[in-house]
Symmetry: C2
Subunit: 253 residues, 2 copies
DNA sequence: CGATAACTTGATGTGACTCAACTTAAGTGG
DNA sequence: CCACTTAAGTTGAGTCACATCAAGTTATCG
């Protein structure tokens, strides 16, 4: 894990970046990369940090290198709703707009690759190939957000919980590749119950009840608050109310 | 209303297009416009038409010229959830992907400006200024979808209904400018109760009850199933659970 | 004008939120 | 390193908003 703090380019060249080949940066020419190296630097934030507050005129954008960032919207009544989760290689920040409608907050300890927003905006305009990649990424994101909206709306809490567990299990396969064959049976959800509940549009109490129900019926085993073992993938899929194909499609974004 | 059916370029030049200056097309050079003219044509579809089915390999993209298109996702159990509504000047179709995850369906009679997808994709790559505009539009759309997701999740049905009515009232001001001062008091919602319910994540029954409640408490007057008069804007805003500023922000997209 | 669909209204059951107590985990200072 | 404190998570009881099923009413269209 990167412990870099507030230093410019401690990550070395972008070519050493842990998430480089999964970001839009990867399509840049050597000349473009050199320019990116100049305007970017890594920085770490502890869990709970507000990276950018709702409505604030953000002057930074960048990529998640490590950790999870939550994108949330706070209502007048104090309710917070998480409208998105950003994972390593995901882009964060609101390009081409004064301020962000949402707040960016570190859901875990995170390491970011930060870039000056106006600088990166200029960079994009000067490098259409990268901007093209950014458009494709945003189109994928748009589909994913809509897909998730359809899930949180038309499904029961149990279905959402099962879907989330499945998606995180797929995600951890892709990321850690820790132990090959059995990777999918172990799920790490690095979020607090409150954050998961806010993301699923429910409460920590209801969420807890559903997780315990899944455990009682031997679909999962609770290792600890953030770690689960999948005992029956088929049962989990059944509880999700989605087909396996749909789930994989959701997980792939 | 345009009655054009399946004819190539009956709209004449793009410069005669009803929605031209609100679309991404408007930033194109004269040369670009000429090219757009060649690859585009208008076509009308009656209400209920499937413009593109879910999962189908769509070969068309374009702009809505008139009417409302619903973007929906059908679940395994037959439930349909509307994840987006597209209005005149909005772009439809899934660029840079084989198939669309959602179905596009005419919620009213619609007129579209259709373009061959591969052709338009090539056009975008050849015209970075237009692609840049497309990116900006998609970034706005992303914010709007997330904002709407936060509303449908954290709010009661009454709040969603009030929000929808407010948003549609603002939208009709912008579009029709029918009678200036009193424009905002008359709201036209050109969707069926079922479509509205699917969009709000509720049922036609619950929706109807809420609308009737608003009418009984003199917040609105029901002119007919699709037409309402706003009697008390302040009360409507109060029922929405949002601040006026937030509502206007939502409506502006 | 009859038939079908769209919408409204009523009665009822239930999933999930709320409030509250309890248990476990995490962090802090002596 | 352990007692203490505080936060995070779980479990329980009660309530309510909303979905469901069903019947009635109003539009829409051939």
């Amino acid at each position: 894990m990167n412990k870099t703090a507030e230093a410019t380019c401690l990550c070395g060249k972008c070519s050493n970046c842990a998430v480089f080949n999964r970001t839009v940066c990867s399509v840049g020419s050597p000349e473009a990369l050199a320019q990116l190296n100049r305007i970017s630097h890594q920085r770490s934030y502890p869990r709970g940090s507000i990276i950018q507050a709702q409505g604030e005129a953000g002057d930074m954008v960048g990529n998640i290198v490590d950790g999870v960032v939550k994108l949330s919207s706070a209502s007048v009544n104090g309710t917070e709703h998480i409208v998105g989760l950003l994972f390593p290689s995901d882009f964060f920040g609101r390009l081409f707009a004064e301020e962000s409608r949402f707040s960016y907050e570190a859901a875990t300890d995170v390491t970011l690759c930060l870039m000056n927003k106006p600088g990166f905006e200029r960079f994009l305009i000067e490098h259409p190939a990268v901007e093209h990649e950014m458009l494709k990424a945003k189109l994928d994101e748009l589909d994913a957000v809509r897909e998730w909206a359809a899930i949180t709306n038309g499904h029961t809490t149990m279905q959402r919980v099962a879907t989330l567990l499945y998606v995180f299990s797929r995600r951890s396969i892709n990321q850690h590749l820790d132990d090959g064959a059995q990777a999918s049976s172990s799920v790490h959800v690095p979020l607090s119950r409150r954050d998961i509940a806010d993301y699923l549009g429910t409460t920590p109490e209801t969420l807890s009840r559903n997780i315990q129900t899944l455990a009682r019926s031997k679909v999962i085993r609770i290792i600890n608050a953030k770690q689960f073992q999948l005992l029956s993938m088929n049962e989990l899929i059944r509880h999700s109310g989605e087909s396996r194909a749909d789930l994989d499609r959701i997980a792939s974004v």
